[in-house]
């Protein structure tokens, strides 16, 4: 006998405090821990309401459908759109791919010019590169040393045959937030479809797709304290009505734009995550920012030759991408191994290429190899900040003692003047 579904519309309790850990997690732009309240919302959809949301003929299906409908409303409320404008996907990468490929295929007759930025995530960059090889013309707008795109450069780049603009809302690497409102207005005036990759930042920033003139918006569940394996794509239905060529075919789900049975528990989780973000984004923003600022000050005042990457003010509150000059990033991570972070160093990538985002900033390549990304989040605490600062400074000092470059710097040698022996 199917139990009745409890609708969790009441205001959620405070952020649960998590059990203390010997490890400190500061890699929230790679992924976030699933909020316990999200997990609670999901579980009944594995064990009780496990029907296929498209099964029209029985209450298992109706219960699943109801969970999905609620999630659609919750996501819509977060970004100020209609629930029917929200499509569910398997995650941010799929949403970005659907936006890029779906639009380019549908509107290729109209034009083959697409504009994007030099600091996109690979889930936009890679499909665009593939289109380029297939005959599309792609313009990559440059950024300044803070990672900011000048909206004027977008205006200058738009042509008669431009059909699509794709911009990352906030960089997952350096946290810089773009002026998407200005860009949305430019695109609207030019009649060009505007996609924003908002996979990072929805937990603290406010994105209003109407006010900002956004036509497509990619969302990632696991970057906003929801589960992995689920995301969403906002697709505008009116003024303009955006159409997409489906990339996954085999049914008729999601208004014909994304076929396949819905990941009901995942979607319910994404919805709950969206609801929590809406409720606490303002409070979280301030709390996370003050933790980050304290950490940043501890680094810049604790050591010399420390550089912060990203825009000083227009930056995500949890983002702290910092270069400890003369200390290589991977070795620093190894030296503070109980703190989970990332680095832009080439040594940490599987291709041995340094981060393309950091390169686009035009900073010294050495600062790329010495960069560490701390990304604080909802569950970061004061105590964790203290521990991370202590470990990092200790490791950085030790590695400077070990560094021939630090030695040369201390001896007053200008490293730029040296002819290095390398292949």
């Amino acid at each position: 006998m199917l139990e009745s579904i409890s609708m969790t519309n009441e205001a959620s309790e405070e952020t649960p405090s998590l059990e203390a850990n010997s490890l400190v997690y500061m890699d929230n732009y790679s992924t976030t821990r699933t909020d316990p309240r999200v997990l609670d919302a999901m579980l009944p959809y594995f064990s009780m309401h496990y029907g296929n949301a498209h099964s029209r003929s029985h209450s298992y299906g109706w219960a699943a459908e109801k969970g999905v409908d609620t999630a659609r409303e919750q996501v819509a409320a977060l970004i100020n759109c209609k629930p029917s404008d929200v499509i569910f996907t398997s995650g941010g990468t799929e949403s970005c791919n659907l936006a890029v490929k779906g639009v380019s295929q549908m509107y290729a007759e109209k034009g083959r010019h697409i504009i994007t930025t030099a600091v996109e995530h690979r889930s936009v960059m890679d499909p665009l590169r593939a289109l380029e090889r297939g005959g599309f013309d792609i313009t990559y707008l440059p950024v300044d040393t803070t990672g900011t795109v000048d909206p004027q450069s977008l205006k200058d780049a738009i042509r008669e045959d431009t059909i699509f603009v794709s911009v990352i809302f906030a960089s997952n690497e350096i946290g810089t937030v773009q002026d998407v409102s200005a860009m949305g207005a430019i695109c609207k005036e030019a009649g060009v479809i505007f996609h924003v990759d908002a996979c990072v930042g929805l937990d603290t920033e406010t994105i209003d797709v109407d006010a900002m003139g956004i036509d497509l918006l990619s969302i990632s569940g696991h970057k906003m304290y929801g589960p992995m394996g689920v995301g969403a794509l906002f697709v505008r239905r009116r003024r303009p009505r955006v159409r997409l060529s489906p990339q996954l075919e085999g049914g008729s789900q999601e208004r014909g734009m994304r076929h396949g049975s819905l990941n009901v528990p995942g979607i319910v989780g994404l919805g709950k995550a969206a609801q929590l973000c809406l409720e606490q984004r303002t409070a979280d923003r301030e709390r996370i920012r003050s933790l980050r600022d304290r950490m940043e000050t501890a680094f810049t005042e604790g050591l010399e030759e420390v550089y912060v990457n990203g825009h000083p003010t227009s930056r995500l509150p949890g983002s702290l991408n910092v270069s400890f000059n003369y200390v290589e990033g991977e070795s620093l991570m190894m030296g503070m191994s109980s703190v989970a972070v990332s680095s832009g160093s080439a040594c940490t990538s599987s291709t041995l290429e340094p981060s393309h985002v950091m390169k686009a900033l035009g900073v010294d390549e050495e600062l790329v190899h010495t960069s560490i990304r701390f990304s604080l989040g909802r569950f970061s605490t004061d105590e964790e900040v203290d521990r991370a600062v202590e470990q990092c400074l200790q490791a950085a000092r030790k590695l400077r003692e070990m560094s021939p470059l630090w030695e040369m710097f201390k001896e007053g040698i200008d490293l730029a003047s040296i002819e290095w022996k390398h292949d």
């Binding site: 070795s331 190894m334 160093s345 040594c347 390549e365 050495e366 070990m402 021939p404 030695e407 390398h422």
Partner: protein
Amino acid sequence: MAYTDKVIDHFENPRNMGSLDKESTEVGTGIVGAPECGDVMKLQIQVEEGRIVDAKFKTFGCGSAIASSSLATEWVKGMTLEEADSLKNTDIVEELSLPPVKIHCSVLAEEAIKSAIEDYQSKQSSD
């Protein structure tokens, strides 16, 4: 990909980290790599009667690079110049169980040794 114990050991307890007097005619200094590549190794040897009696290193690079150069100084101590010159990077790879993506660190360490020997020898011939 977790770091292997040996690589971590060389980082936590580096052997022969430091500097020798680069002006001395008994010392050969090899500096290889480049900051923009993310790898720079400085390896120095002190030679007496054709044998390496001391060796020191300083490295800017990942854990595997630090371990490779640290291991190199450990091995060359007590070797003749000929023996040190014939050290192969593959020996380092095997000892540290370096994965394919880190093999270039061992190559750089081999180059650092050769560069130090070359520097020492050039000082002898100019006397």
